[in-house]
Symmetry: C2
Subunit: 242 residues, 2 copies
Protein backbone atom coordinates (compact mmCIF):
# COMPACT_ATOMS: atom_id res chain seq x y z
CA UNK A 1 0.00 0.00 0.00
CA UNK A 2 1.13 3.57 -0.60
CA UNK A 3 2.81 5.23 2.34
CA UNK A 4 2.24 8.77 3.61
CA UNK A 5 4.85 10.81 5.46
CA UNK A 6 3.74 13.60 7.78
CA UNK A 7 6.15 16.17 9.24
CA UNK A 8 4.84 17.83 12.36
CA UNK A 9 5.62 20.15 15.22
CA UNK A 10 3.86 20.34 18.57
CA UNK A 11 3.85 22.13 21.87
CA UNK A 12 4.19 19.20 24.28
CA UNK A 13 2.98 21.16 27.34
CA UNK A 14 -0.58 19.90 27.19
CA UNK A 15 0.13 16.26 26.27
CA UNK A 16 1.08 13.13 28.21
CA UNK A 17 3.84 12.54 25.69
CA UNK A 18 3.71 11.35 22.10
CA UNK A 19 2.73 7.69 22.52
CA UNK A 20 -0.93 6.69 22.84
CA UNK A 21 -2.13 5.91 26.36
CA UNK A 22 -5.67 4.86 27.23
CA UNK A 23 -7.64 7.75 28.70
CA UNK A 24 -4.83 10.31 28.43
CA UNK A 25 -4.37 13.15 25.95
CA UNK A 26 -1.37 12.32 23.76
CA UNK A 27 -0.06 13.58 20.43
CA UNK A 28 -0.45 10.18 18.77
CA UNK A 29 -3.96 9.82 20.16
CA UNK A 30 -5.03 13.22 18.78
CA UNK A 31 -3.33 12.60 15.45
CA UNK A 32 -4.80 9.14 14.88
CA UNK A 33 -8.28 10.34 15.86
CA UNK A 34 -7.99 13.16 13.31
CA UNK A 35 -6.64 10.79 10.64
CA UNK A 36 -9.53 8.42 11.31
CA UNK A 37 -12.01 11.24 10.76
CA UNK A 38 -10.43 12.29 7.48
CA UNK A 39 -9.59 8.88 6.04
CA UNK A 40 -12.03 6.59 7.83
CA UNK A 41 -11.00 3.47 9.70
CA UNK A 42 -8.37 3.38 12.43
CA UNK A 43 -5.04 4.35 10.85
CA UNK A 44 -1.97 3.04 12.64
CA UNK A 45 1.03 5.31 12.55
CA UNK A 46 4.77 4.89 13.11
CA UNK A 47 6.84 7.72 14.58
CA UNK A 48 10.53 8.70 14.43
CA UNK A 49 10.92 9.76 18.08
CA UNK A 50 8.56 8.91 20.93
CA UNK A 51 8.88 12.06 22.98
CA UNK A 52 8.11 12.01 26.72
CA UNK A 53 5.43 14.06 28.47
CA UNK A 54 6.15 17.78 28.18
CA UNK A 55 8.76 17.40 25.42
CA UNK A 56 8.16 19.36 22.21
CA UNK A 57 8.85 18.72 18.54
CA UNK A 58 9.57 20.88 15.54
CA UNK A 59 10.51 18.20 13.01
CA UNK A 60 8.77 15.00 14.15
CA UNK A 61 8.05 12.47 11.40
CA UNK A 62 5.14 10.05 11.21
CA UNK A 63 4.26 7.47 8.55
CA UNK A 64 1.24 5.34 7.77
CA UNK A 65 -0.29 3.29 4.96
CA UNK A 66 -3.08 4.88 2.94
CA UNK A 67 -5.24 4.36 -0.10
CA UNK A 68 -3.84 5.33 -3.50
CA UNK A 69 -6.29 8.21 -4.09
CA UNK A 70 -5.25 10.32 -1.13
CA UNK A 71 -4.96 14.09 -1.76
CA UNK A 72 -2.06 15.14 0.49
CA UNK A 73 -2.76 18.90 0.19
CA UNK A 74 -6.31 18.38 1.35
CA UNK A 75 -5.13 16.08 4.15
CA UNK A 76 -2.67 18.75 5.34
CA UNK A 77 -5.38 21.41 5.53
CA UNK A 78 -7.89 19.09 7.19
CA UNK A 79 -5.43 17.91 9.84
CA UNK A 80 -4.31 21.45 10.68
CA UNK A 81 -7.92 22.54 10.96
CA UNK A 82 -8.54 19.81 13.54
CA UNK A 83 -5.21 19.70 15.40
CA UNK A 84 -4.11 23.35 15.57
CA UNK A 85 -2.73 25.33 17.20
CA UNK A 86 -0.91 22.90 19.53
CA UNK A 87 -0.04 20.45 16.75
CA UNK A 88 0.93 21.66 13.27
CA UNK A 89 1.43 19.39 10.28
CA UNK A 90 3.97 21.17 8.11
CA UNK A 91 4.13 18.66 5.26
CA UNK A 92 2.16 15.68 3.96
CA UNK A 93 3.62 13.66 1.12
CA UNK A 94 3.39 10.27 -0.59
CA UNK A 95 6.70 8.44 -0.18
CA UNK A 96 8.29 5.15 -1.23
CA UNK A 97 6.43 2.15 0.06
CA UNK A 98 9.42 0.95 2.06
CA UNK A 99 9.50 4.16 4.12
CA UNK A 100 8.96 3.75 7.87
CA UNK A 101 9.20 6.83 10.10
CA UNK A 102 11.06 4.92 12.79
CA UNK A 103 13.00 2.16 11.04
CA UNK A 104 14.14 4.30 8.10
CA UNK A 105 15.47 7.10 10.32
CA UNK A 106 19.29 7.25 10.47
CA UNK A 107 19.63 10.08 12.98
CA UNK A 108 17.66 12.27 15.34
CA UNK A 109 18.64 15.78 16.38
CA UNK A 110 17.44 17.42 19.58
CA UNK A 111 17.69 20.95 20.95
CA UNK A 112 17.78 21.74 24.67
CA UNK A 113 17.39 25.38 25.58
CA UNK A 114 18.69 26.90 28.84
CA UNK A 115 17.95 30.46 29.98
CA UNK A 116 20.35 32.17 32.36
CA UNK A 117 18.77 35.60 32.78
CA UNK A 118 17.28 36.51 36.16
CA UNK A 119 13.51 36.09 36.08
CA UNK A 120 13.67 34.05 32.86
CA UNK A 121 12.38 35.09 29.47
CA UNK A 122 8.57 35.39 29.43
CA UNK A 123 8.35 34.80 25.67
CA UNK A 124 10.27 31.55 25.53
CA UNK A 125 9.55 30.06 28.96
CA UNK A 126 7.32 27.33 27.45
CA UNK A 127 10.32 25.65 25.84
CA UNK A 128 13.28 26.87 27.87
CA UNK A 129 14.64 25.73 31.21
CA UNK A 130 15.15 29.09 32.91
CA UNK A 131 17.81 28.45 35.50
CA UNK A 132 18.14 32.19 36.17
CA UNK A 133 21.84 32.13 37.02
CA UNK A 134 25.17 32.33 35.27
CA UNK A 135 26.76 29.07 34.16
CA UNK A 136 30.36 28.29 33.27
CA UNK A 137 29.91 27.99 29.53
CA UNK A 138 33.50 27.04 28.81
CA UNK A 139 33.41 24.07 31.19
CA UNK A 140 30.07 22.98 29.73
CA UNK A 141 31.45 23.15 26.19
CA UNK A 142 34.36 20.91 27.19
CA UNK A 143 32.03 18.42 28.87
CA UNK A 144 29.67 18.40 25.86
CA UNK A 145 32.55 17.42 23.58
CA UNK A 146 33.23 14.34 25.74
CA UNK A 147 29.94 12.78 24.58
CA UNK A 148 30.97 12.79 20.91
CA UNK A 149 31.52 9.42 19.23
CA UNK A 150 30.33 5.90 20.00
CA UNK A 151 29.89 5.15 23.69
CA UNK A 152 27.86 3.03 26.05
CA UNK A 153 25.57 5.71 27.51
CA UNK A 154 24.09 3.56 30.27
CA UNK A 155 24.96 6.20 32.90
CA UNK A 156 22.61 8.51 30.99
CA UNK A 157 19.86 6.00 30.15
CA UNK A 158 16.75 5.08 32.06
CA UNK A 159 15.49 1.51 31.80
CA UNK A 160 17.16 -1.50 30.25
CA UNK A 161 18.33 -2.57 26.82
CA UNK A 162 21.39 -1.66 24.85
CA UNK A 163 22.65 1.84 25.46
CA UNK A 164 25.47 2.04 22.92
CA UNK A 165 24.86 5.10 20.75
CA UNK A 166 26.79 7.02 18.12
CA UNK A 167 26.75 10.77 18.91
CA UNK A 168 27.65 12.88 15.88
CA UNK A 169 27.00 16.34 17.31
CA UNK A 170 27.18 17.48 20.93
CA UNK A 171 27.79 21.15 21.36
CA UNK A 172 26.71 24.04 23.49
CA UNK A 173 26.34 27.44 21.88
CA UNK A 174 25.39 30.88 23.16
CA UNK A 175 22.38 31.95 21.15
CA UNK A 176 21.00 35.30 22.26
CA UNK A 177 22.41 36.96 25.35
CA UNK A 178 21.29 34.87 28.30
CA UNK A 179 20.46 31.77 26.22
CA UNK A 180 22.54 28.59 25.99
CA UNK A 181 21.49 25.98 23.47
CA UNK A 182 22.64 22.37 23.51
CA UNK A 183 22.42 20.59 20.14
CA UNK A 184 22.80 16.84 20.08
CA UNK A 185 22.50 14.46 17.16
CA UNK A 186 22.86 10.67 17.30
CA UNK A 187 21.79 7.57 15.40
CA UNK A 188 19.28 7.02 18.22
CA UNK A 189 18.73 7.93 21.88
CA UNK A 190 17.89 5.80 24.89
CA UNK A 191 15.19 6.87 27.33
CA UNK A 192 15.79 10.28 28.98
CA UNK A 193 19.27 10.43 27.46
CA UNK A 194 19.24 14.07 26.32
CA UNK A 195 17.75 15.31 29.59
CA UNK A 196 20.36 13.32 31.54
CA UNK A 197 23.21 14.69 29.41
CA UNK A 198 21.90 18.23 29.91
CA UNK A 199 21.45 17.62 33.64
CA UNK A 200 25.10 16.68 33.86
CA UNK A 201 26.16 19.68 31.77
CA UNK A 202 24.14 21.88 34.10
CA UNK A 203 25.95 20.42 37.12
CA UNK A 204 29.24 21.19 35.37
CA UNK A 205 28.06 24.72 34.57
CA UNK A 206 27.19 25.49 38.16
CA UNK A 207 30.40 23.97 39.52
CA UNK A 208 28.94 20.80 41.07
CA UNK A 209 31.03 18.72 38.68
CA UNK A 210 34.09 19.40 36.55
CA UNK A 211 34.41 18.98 32.81
CA UNK A 212 36.63 15.96 33.50
CA UNK A 213 33.82 14.29 35.44
CA UNK A 214 31.81 13.87 32.22
CA UNK A 215 34.30 11.28 30.95
CA UNK A 216 34.38 9.53 34.30
CA UNK A 217 30.56 9.33 34.52
CA UNK A 218 30.34 8.13 30.91
CA UNK A 219 32.96 5.43 31.52
CA UNK A 220 31.47 4.19 34.81
CA UNK A 221 28.15 3.04 33.33
CA UNK A 222 26.43 3.89 36.60
CA UNK A 223 23.23 5.87 36.43
CA UNK A 224 23.42 6.93 40.07
CA UNK A 225 26.31 9.23 39.11
CA UNK A 226 23.95 11.45 37.13
CA UNK A 227 22.39 13.57 39.85
CA UNK A 228 20.32 15.98 37.78
CA UNK A 229 17.86 15.24 34.99
CA UNK A 230 16.86 18.41 33.15
CA UNK A 231 13.10 19.08 32.98
CA UNK A 232 11.23 18.01 29.83
CA UNK A 233 9.94 21.42 28.72
CA UNK A 234 13.41 22.62 27.62
CA UNK A 235 13.69 19.78 25.10
CA UNK A 236 12.57 19.82 21.47
CA UNK A 237 12.96 17.06 18.85
CA UNK A 238 14.30 19.28 16.09
CA UNK A 239 14.95 17.14 13.03
CA UNK A 240 15.11 13.55 11.84
CA UNK A 241 17.43 12.35 9.10
CA UNK A 242 16.63 9.65 6.52
CA UNK B 1 18.09 61.83 43.66
CA UNK B 2 19.78 58.58 42.60
CA UNK B 3 18.32 56.93 39.53
CA UNK B 4 17.58 53.23 39.02
CA UNK B 5 17.56 51.52 35.64
CA UNK B 6 15.54 48.35 35.14
CA UNK B 7 15.87 46.12 32.08
CA UNK B 8 12.87 43.92 31.49
CA UNK B 9 11.16 41.51 29.15
CA UNK B 10 7.49 40.66 28.98
CA UNK B 11 4.96 38.56 27.15
CA UNK B 12 2.52 41.24 25.98
CA UNK B 13 -0.33 38.78 25.29
CA UNK B 14 -2.11 39.40 28.57
CA UNK B 15 -1.65 43.18 28.79
CA UNK B 16 -3.41 46.20 27.33
CA UNK B 17 -0.05 47.56 26.27
CA UNK B 18 2.77 49.04 28.28
CA UNK B 19 1.31 52.41 29.30
CA UNK B 20 -0.88 52.71 32.40
CA UNK B 21 -4.62 52.90 31.78
CA UNK B 22 -7.24 53.21 34.48
CA UNK B 23 -8.95 49.89 35.14
CA UNK B 24 -6.91 47.89 32.61
CA UNK B 25 -4.05 45.46 33.15
CA UNK B 26 -0.90 47.03 31.74
CA UNK B 27 2.82 46.36 32.14
CA UNK B 28 3.47 49.80 33.64
CA UNK B 29 0.54 49.37 36.02
CA UNK B 30 1.82 46.00 37.28
CA UNK B 31 5.39 47.27 37.53
CA UNK B 32 4.57 50.44 39.45
CA UNK B 33 2.29 48.55 41.83
CA UNK B 34 5.12 46.11 42.55
CA UNK B 35 7.65 48.95 42.96
CA UNK B 36 5.28 50.68 45.37
CA UNK B 37 5.08 47.53 47.48
CA UNK B 38 8.84 47.11 47.64
CA UNK B 39 9.89 50.75 47.97
CA UNK B 40 6.80 52.39 49.44
CA UNK B 41 5.10 55.44 47.95
CA UNK B 42 4.00 55.69 44.32
CA UNK B 43 7.09 55.50 42.15
CA UNK B 44 6.79 57.16 38.74
CA UNK B 45 8.67 55.46 35.96
CA UNK B 46 9.90 56.51 32.53
CA UNK B 47 10.12 53.96 29.70
CA UNK B 48 12.18 53.66 26.50
CA UNK B 49 9.40 52.33 24.24
CA UNK B 50 5.67 52.43 24.97
CA UNK B 51 4.59 49.20 23.33
CA UNK B 52 1.01 48.72 22.14
CA UNK B 53 -1.43 46.07 23.35
CA UNK B 54 -0.17 42.58 22.50
CA UNK B 55 3.39 43.70 21.66
CA UNK B 56 6.22 42.00 23.57
CA UNK B 57 9.59 43.14 24.87
CA UNK B 58 12.91 41.47 25.52
CA UNK B 59 15.06 44.53 26.24
CA UNK B 60 12.69 47.20 27.49
CA UNK B 61 14.27 49.84 29.74
CA UNK B 62 12.61 51.73 32.62
CA UNK B 63 14.03 54.36 34.96
CA UNK B 64 12.90 56.00 38.19
CA UNK B 65 14.25 58.01 41.09
CA UNK B 66 14.96 56.15 44.33
CA UNK B 67 16.45 56.61 47.77
CA UNK B 68 20.24 56.27 48.15
CA UNK B 69 20.09 53.07 50.24
CA UNK B 70 18.38 50.88 47.66
CA UNK B 71 19.71 47.30 47.34
CA UNK B 72 19.34 46.55 43.63
CA UNK B 73 19.93 42.79 43.96
CA UNK B 74 17.16 42.56 46.52
CA UNK B 75 14.90 44.72 44.34
CA UNK B 76 15.51 42.42 41.34
CA UNK B 77 14.53 39.32 43.31
CA UNK B 78 11.49 40.95 44.92
CA UNK B 79 10.17 42.27 41.58
CA UNK B 80 10.61 38.92 39.83
CA UNK B 81 8.83 37.19 42.70
CA UNK B 82 5.83 39.50 42.23
CA UNK B 83 5.78 39.99 38.45
CA UNK B 84 6.81 36.60 37.04
CA UNK B 85 6.40 34.75 34.84
CA UNK B 86 4.83 37.18 32.36
CA UNK B 87 7.22 40.02 33.24
CA UNK B 88 10.90 39.38 34.00
CA UNK B 89 13.30 42.01 35.30
CA UNK B 90 16.70 40.96 34.00
CA UNK B 91 18.78 43.74 35.54
CA UNK B 92 18.44 46.43 38.20
CA UNK B 93 21.25 48.97 38.56
CA UNK B 94 22.01 52.41 39.96
CA UNK B 95 22.92 54.74 37.09
CA UNK B 96 24.00 58.34 36.59
CA UNK B 97 21.46 60.83 37.87
CA UNK B 98 20.96 62.31 34.42
CA UNK B 99 19.77 58.98 33.00
CA UNK B 100 16.22 58.90 31.64
CA UNK B 101 14.96 55.70 29.99
CA UNK B 102 13.16 57.62 27.25
CA UNK B 103 15.13 60.85 26.74
CA UNK B 104 18.57 59.27 27.01
CA UNK B 105 17.79 56.53 24.46
CA UNK B 106 19.50 57.05 21.09
CA UNK B 107 17.99 54.09 19.24
CA UNK B 108 15.40 51.35 19.53
CA UNK B 109 15.57 47.98 17.81
CA UNK B 110 12.54 45.82 17.08
CA UNK B 111 12.11 42.29 15.82
CA UNK B 112 9.10 41.16 13.82
CA UNK B 113 8.75 37.42 13.31
CA UNK B 114 6.84 35.83 10.42
CA UNK B 115 6.14 32.10 10.12
CA UNK B 116 5.53 30.60 6.70
CA UNK B 117 5.03 26.91 7.50
CA UNK B 118 1.57 25.41 7.01
CA UNK B 119 -0.22 25.15 10.33
CA UNK B 120 2.28 27.52 12.00
CA UNK B 121 4.78 26.62 14.70
CA UNK B 122 3.05 25.63 17.96
CA UNK B 123 6.07 26.57 20.08
CA UNK B 124 6.53 30.12 18.84
CA UNK B 125 2.98 31.08 17.92
CA UNK B 126 2.69 33.52 20.85
CA UNK B 127 5.22 35.86 19.24
CA UNK B 128 5.10 34.98 15.56
CA UNK B 129 2.67 36.00 12.86
CA UNK B 130 2.03 32.62 11.22
CA UNK B 131 0.95 33.46 7.70
CA UNK B 132 1.21 29.78 6.70
CA UNK B 133 2.23 30.41 3.09
CA UNK B 134 5.36 31.01 1.09
CA UNK B 135 6.48 34.61 0.61
CA UNK B 136 8.81 36.10 -1.99
CA UNK B 137 11.77 36.72 0.28
CA UNK B 138 13.93 38.36 -2.35
CA UNK B 139 11.31 41.00 -3.14
CA UNK B 140 10.78 41.62 0.58
CA UNK B 141 14.54 42.07 1.12
CA UNK B 142 14.65 44.67 -1.65
CA UNK B 143 11.66 46.52 -0.22
CA UNK B 144 13.12 46.43 3.31
CA UNK B 145 16.29 48.13 2.07
CA UNK B 146 14.20 51.05 0.74
CA UNK B 147 13.37 52.10 4.31
CA UNK B 148 17.03 52.65 5.26
CA UNK B 149 18.12 56.21 5.97
CA UNK B 150 16.27 59.39 6.98
CA UNK B 151 12.75 59.65 5.59
CA UNK B 152 9.37 61.11 6.40
CA UNK B 153 7.50 57.94 7.37
CA UNK B 154 4.03 59.50 7.50
CA UNK B 155 2.66 56.78 5.16
CA UNK B 156 3.60 54.30 7.89
CA UNK B 157 2.56 56.36 10.94
CA UNK B 158 -0.72 56.50 12.76
CA UNK B 159 -1.71 59.80 14.38
CA UNK B 160 -0.11 63.23 13.99
CA UNK B 161 3.22 64.82 14.84
CA UNK B 162 6.52 64.70 13.04
CA UNK B 163 7.23 61.42 11.31
CA UNK B 164 10.79 62.00 10.13
CA UNK B 165 12.91 59.12 11.40
CA UNK B 166 16.42 57.84 10.84
CA UNK B 167 16.38 54.09 10.09
CA UNK B 168 19.78 52.48 10.60
CA UNK B 169 18.85 48.85 10.07
CA UNK B 170 16.01 47.39 8.02
CA UNK B 171 16.57 43.84 6.89
CA UNK B 172 14.75 40.62 6.47
CA UNK B 173 16.56 37.39 7.23
CA UNK B 174 15.63 33.72 7.05
CA UNK B 175 16.11 32.33 10.55
CA UNK B 176 15.11 28.72 10.84
CA UNK B 177 13.43 26.99 7.93
CA UNK B 178 9.98 28.56 7.62
CA UNK B 179 10.81 31.64 9.68
CA UNK B 180 11.43 35.17 8.34
CA UNK B 181 12.63 37.80 10.76
CA UNK B 182 12.51 41.53 10.14
CA UNK B 183 15.00 43.58 12.18
CA UNK B 184 14.57 47.33 12.29
CA UNK B 185 16.53 49.91 14.24
CA UNK B 186 15.90 53.65 14.25
CA UNK B 187 16.48 56.68 16.44
CA UNK B 188 12.75 56.49 17.25
CA UNK B 189 9.51 55.12 15.82
CA UNK B 190 6.14 56.75 15.28
CA UNK B 191 2.94 54.97 16.26
CA UNK B 192 2.40 51.57 14.57
CA UNK B 193 5.39 52.20 12.31
CA UNK B 194 6.99 48.74 12.54
CA UNK B 195 3.69 46.93 12.07
CA UNK B 196 2.90 49.13 9.05
CA UNK B 197 6.34 48.52 7.51
CA UNK B 198 5.91 44.78 8.02
CA UNK B 199 2.36 44.92 6.63
CA UNK B 200 3.75 46.47 3.47
CA UNK B 201 6.58 43.93 3.27
CA UNK B 202 4.01 41.16 3.63
CA UNK B 203 2.01 42.62 0.72
CA UNK B 204 5.21 42.64 -1.33
CA UNK B 205 5.97 39.06 -0.27
CA UNK B 206 2.59 37.75 -1.39
CA UNK B 207 2.69 39.69 -4.67
CA UNK B 208 0.10 42.37 -3.84
CA UNK B 209 2.77 45.05 -4.25
CA UNK B 210 6.18 45.14 -5.91
CA UNK B 211 9.49 45.98 -4.27
CA UNK B 212 9.41 49.28 -6.21
CA UNK B 213 6.11 50.21 -4.57
CA UNK B 214 7.86 50.59 -1.20
CA UNK B 215 9.67 53.71 -2.44
CA UNK B 216 6.51 55.10 -3.99
CA UNK B 217 4.49 54.59 -0.80
CA UNK B 218 7.27 56.09 1.31
CA UNK B 219 7.52 59.14 -0.97
CA UNK B 220 3.78 59.73 -1.17
CA UNK B 221 3.26 60.44 2.53
CA UNK B 222 -0.21 58.94 2.30
CA UNK B 223 -1.26 56.46 4.94
CA UNK B 224 -4.12 55.09 2.86
CA UNK B 225 -1.52 53.45 0.60
CA UNK B 226 -0.55 51.05 3.40
CA UNK B 227 -3.25 48.42 3.15
CA UNK B 228 -2.03 45.89 5.71
CA UNK B 229 -0.92 46.46 9.30
CA UNK B 230 0.76 43.36 10.74
CA UNK B 231 -0.78 42.05 13.98
CA UNK B 232 0.85 43.09 17.28
CA UNK B 233 1.80 39.64 18.59
CA UNK B 234 4.62 39.19 16.02
CA UNK B 235 6.42 42.29 17.33
CA UNK B 236 9.03 42.43 20.10
CA UNK B 237 10.97 45.46 21.35
CA UNK B 238 14.38 43.83 21.34
CA UNK B 239 16.96 46.35 22.51
CA UNK B 240 17.44 50.01 23.34
CA UNK B 241 20.70 51.88 22.81
CA UNK B 242 22.05 54.63 25.08
Amino acid sequence: MPTVRLDLGYDGSGFHGYAKQEGLRTVQGELETALGRVLGGSPETAVAGRTDAGVHARGQVVSFAAGPTLDTEQLLRALNGMLGPEIAVTRAAMVDNGFHARHSAVWRRYRYRLGTRPGGDPLTRGYTWDVGRDLDREAMELAAAVFLGEHDFSSFCRGGGSSVRQVEESRLIAEDEGVLVYWVRANAFCHQMVRSLVGHLYDVGRGFASADDAGMVLGAGDRSLVVTVAPPHGLTLWEVGY
